[in-house]
């Protein structure tokens, strides 16, 4: 299975970590960022989320983030999985897993990758509130 994916279905954190760890026996640290759906936004109560992406372009941006992370950080492997469609409160949205020989490189690469994802990947979130569905116009 591809290390970079956008999918409707949920994912298993354990399986993704295993997939990344399979990259080499020199791995001594794995850092994972898991983004989940919270029940509030800007003081409003949220009852669900919907994600839309630009098919093709969004996947290409995520592949580019992984390739730049592998080039610019001392990491051994990285995976990025983002879900699309309806996501219930408490459910998983995005997972980034970075593996390196020593922990600091994986921490830095993982933090950089999620920031870069939010900045450059054509994915959009719509929140379901008591007042109706609202597109989130800017990443906080």
């Amino acid at each position: 299975m591809d290390l970079v994916r956008i999918q409707k279905d949920g994912f298993s954190m354990e399986e993704e970590v295993a997939r990344v760890k399979a990259a080499g026996r020199g791995i001594g640290a794995v850092v994972a960022f898991l983004g989940t759906a919270r029940d509030f936004s800007k003081g409003e109560s949220i009852t669900g989320l919907d994600f839309e992406h630009y098919p093709g372009m969004a996947e290409a941006r995520l592949r580019d983030i992984r390739e730049r992370a592998l080039k610019n950080f001392d990491i051994i492997e990285m995976s990025i999985v983002h879900r699309t469609g309806r996501i219930e409160i408490g459910a998983d949205i995005v997972l980034i897993v970075a593996a390196s020989a020593h922990r600091n490189d994986a921490f830095m690469a993982c933090e950089w990758a999620i920031t870069e994802l939010k900045r450059t990947t054509p994915i959009w979130k719509r929140e379901t509130t008591a007042k109706g569905d609202v597109w989130v116009s800017e990443t906080p």
Partner: protein, 103 residues
Amino acid sequence: MSKIPRSLASGELQVIYHFQNMITVRFFAMLKGLAGAEEKTYPAETPITVGELKELLKRDFPALRPVIDSRSVLISVNQEFAGKQTLIKDGDEVGLLPPFSGG
């Protein structure tokens, strides 16, 4: 319009004419609602710049004027980020991308 020789089997030249000459603009997320459409095609006999296309979109979709003028909307051409001077040609796909909110 391009001519493509298709077959000489019957002894005479058969020609297929392609009348594509279109660019497709795709709207995403809240822009779909503002435009009231998912996409819009424009004839493209000659290439136009992203800046020129923005003026066409503002003319045809008044509700998009504030967001296009605010510069918060990014433009892609064939799924790559584009600048104001990027040329858009026959067959190209343009994306109108509101601020991202993934993650």
